[in-house]
């Protein structure tokens, strides 16, 4: 098997890219997609670590993470649609009501 460290490093890369997208993109849909990327990095760590220590609990956890990700995407996209209907934009430079 490939050393588990390699999987961790790859997951670090994906997570960092996802965080970068979530912080710097100005489109709400892009922010949601970046969050999916970060969740996938975490899933990769769960599966790789579980395989390394001989345990399937990591895979069970991945199933829960996927469930939560699906719920998050559904509710988040519904909010994007509602915001677009109200304000006509999904740009976070304009939607700054909670930024103070």
């Amino acid at each position: 098997m490939v050393p588990v460290d390699f999987y961790f490093v790859l997951a670090c890369l994906i997570f960092s890219l996802g965080l970068f997208g979530a912080l710097f993109r100005r489109n709400l849909i892009m922010v949601l997609m970046s969050i999916e990327l970060m969740l996938n990095a975490v899933n990769l760590v769960f599966v790789a670590a579980g395989r390394a220590i001989g345990n399937v609990d990591g895979q069970v956890m991945v199933l829960f993470v996927i469930t939560v990700a699906a719920c998050e995407a559904a509710v988040g996209l519904a909010m994007v649609i509602a915001l677009f209907r109200k304000y006509g934009t999904v740009n976070t430079d304009i939607l700054r009501l909670l930024r103070g």
Partner: protein, 186 residues
């Protein structure tokens, strides 16, 4: 394990890792959300391939079915529904140098964290479920299902409640405001 099969395993991992990184960069950097969504699908398929190399066949199948099949399609539906204008697809606000510095420092930090904490693996598992034992016990899907429906039965049931709540919430949030829509008729 023979030298050739070891070489193949490493080669496949590094090929997949390079493609995943490339696709992740394209997901984050693409100007148009549709392009990002398509690269996200490719990314998720490649990750499913990595799960398969880690003997996690059930997770790999679910990754393709739920993530690539359902979640990204939902994203694409919303992107098409909103029909975003070009000026709303403006790219990044920060310069590439600032952003690149941030990502590189973050990667370094995370690798340091992993290197710090990976040493001690005691108490994390008894190591009884190596691939050979899993095959003997009935295969990956069987073992995962046994865990899911015995040890993790309460989280499993709660997940169904969570999904129900998400369905109702999504419908309520995305539904048109009744007063607004009925106003022109009356």
């Amino acid at each position: 394990m023979s030298d050739f099969s070891l070489l193949m395993t490493h080669g496949v991992f590094h090929l997949f890792a390079a493609l995943i990184t490339l696709c992740s960069v394209l997901v984050v950097m693409s100007k148009h959300p549709v392009k990002s969504a398509v690269f996200l699908v490719v990314d998720l398929f490649l990750l499913a391939g990595l799960y398969a190399t880690l003997d996690s066949h059930f997770v790999a199948a679910i990754q393709v079915l739920v993530y690539a099949g359902a979640i990204v399609v939902l994203f694409l539906f919303v992107i098409m529904l909103l029909n975003l204008q070009p000026e709303q697809l403006r790219g990044l606000k920060f310069s590439a140098v600032e952003a690149g510095t941030l990502v590189i420092s973050l990667v370094g930090f995370l690798i340091t964290v992993v290197a710090t904490f990976k040493g001690d693996q005691t108490g994390l598992g008894d190591g009884s479920l190596d691939p050979v034992a899993i095959e003997a016990a009935g295969g990956n899907t069987y073992v995962v299902a046994m865990k899911l429906l015995t040890n993790y039965i309460w989280p499993f049931e709660l997940a169904s409640v969570l999904i129900l709540m998400a369905i109702v919430a999504a419908v309520v949030i995305a539904k048109k405001d009744k007063k607004k829509t009925s106003a022109p008729i009356s």
